[in-house]
């Protein structure tokens, strides 16, 4: 399972990356693997305000539905429109073209896991 070192992670398997004033959010390689092939992504409306840990949208595979949560507090400023036609991007490139939303807000590092801590979490969950 790929866990890039330069990202921050949540216990609910989202990742976050700072890009200027914005935080880019997606789900991890592990999360997409657990869910299976994504067939539909329900994204929030631009302008939605969210607290850290609040639901932003859902990802559907054939057999399951998963919610994804906001890693940070802020407002949704952009959503990945490509996913409407190509939900498979979440599976094929979860840390790149498969990103979900961009949020205006700051990363609170203390609340999130770094790559090492996230790897430990995955090790625990696989037991």
């Amino acid at each position: 399972m790929s866990v890039p070192n330069d990202l921050s992670y949540t216990r609910s398997h989202e990742w976050a990356r700072v890009e200027g004033d914005l935080v880019v959010v997606g789900i991890t390689h592990y999360a997409q693997d657990q869910l299976g092939e994504v067939v539909y992504v329900e994204l929030p409306e631009v302008g939605l305000g969210a607290n850290a840990g609040e639901e932003l949208g859902t990802l559907e595979s054939v057999k399951a539905v998963a919610e994804f949560l906001s890693p940070v507090a802020g407002e949704v400023v952009e959503v990945n429109e490509r996913l409407a036609e190509e939900p498979n991007l979440v599976n094929e490139d979860p840390y790149g073209d498969g990103w979900l939303v961009k949020i205006s807000g700051a990363l609170e590092e203390d609340e999130l896991l770094d790559a090492e801590a996230y790897k430990e979490l995955l090790a625990e969950e696989s037991h």
């Binding site: 092939e37 067939v39 539909y40 559907e60 595979s61 054939v62 939900p87 498979n88």
Partner: protein, 492 residues
Amino acid sequence: MRRRALRDEPPFFELNPRRTVRQGHLLPPLDVPDLDPAAVLPQSLLRAPVEDFPDLGEHEVVQHFHRLSQLNYAVDEGLYPLGSCTMKYNPRINERTARLAGFADLHPLQPDDQVQGALALMWELEQALKAVTGMAGVTLQPAAGAHGELTGILMIRKALEARGDARSIVLVPDSAHGTNPATASFAGYEAVEIPSAVDGTVDLAALAELMNERVAAVMLTVPNTLGVFEHRILEISELVHRRGGFLYLDGANLNAFVGRALVGRMGADAMHINLHKTFSTPHGGGGPGAGPVAVSEALLPHLPVPRVVREGDRFRMVWHDPNSVGAMRGYAGSFLILVRAMTYIRSLGAEGLRELSDVAVLYANLIRHRLRGAYHLKYDAPSLHEVVFDDSVQATRDVHNIDIAKRLLDYGFHPPTMSFPLIVHGALMIEPTESPSPEEVGAFCDAMLEIAREVERDPLLVKSAPHDTPVRRIDEVRAARALKVRWQPEQG
């Protein structure tokens, strides 16, 4: 599955491709003056002829459906051991009685004096279901099991409102079927999970902690989805009632103890009964079902309308009652399904019902005994009419429950239930019912054992199954991503 269609059968819309004039069914002669629709209806509301709705000759229509039928597995083909679905034999006499003109050719709004036989039959079925459950009353209205659940929970809500006691939570075990939390949530309650104890039954200490004055009802399945009876059911019902809640029992697994034990004595306030499971009405490719609900004295005033009452030797349909939860669907029930269930109960009687649960439980335990060396049994508590194995042994070779299921198709059997209980990862929930022969049950066990050996010998053979079915493994991802849910002509 041992049979294949000889060739693909195109969708109806591709038949008669040149759209020539063919004679479908002959209509009765028009013995009144013909009328141009435009003479009496606004032109703007009339339809243009429906495109791609061909006319076929009668033989062509029959062949179309005959060929399609050959692509289906069915109870009459072989064992259909879907756990919690009770796929038993559908007696043919049921189909004959349900087609009697005196039942099929009745309008639900005919005056009571024209339909005394129909009302009497509904009343008799209510009495029979009261006898089978030991409960105080029954509604025959709900159209399916989940609909029965909702009816029951809304009656409970009505009873709580009547005593001025608003509550907000329904407790549901983590082993429950998905319809239970769906029902609670639809009825406006928050569904909270009760954890299972190590034997798979309800953790009584956890329940005692969760059971407070905000809990409207506890929904339990007896026996639960593992086939394990809640042996502390009397303690549970005492606890629930002491704290002012209601006990809802999901009757999906009634086949385990029908004729032997009464849910009324278990302290149930409501239980739905799936006539298409325990009482043999056909599953019909996914409906129609019927989910009557039996209730305790406390819920009697709140039964849905319309309902049948007896006055001396006459029967009457009651359409209004201010205490009732209201109407849950059109009319008094899926009457022709009720006719089938009544036919079944009359045929079996008290002894026959007990005999069926005896053999259903015996078969399930036989399967448990024969397969337990080859498949893992997470919960070892004694089980009744079904048994839940899992794929953890096979998963070490990367073979999962879905692969085992698909390989079973090659052996000519329907697979077990896999989507729940959620507390068993990779579940294989097996319910044989009482109707097949011992040889049929044995052949299923042999197939399961052979598949377990194949997993050791040649896991890819199992992972690439099915090999011998009318179509091969289906691309469900493509179906969901490129949605095509109606036929359309090829472009260009």
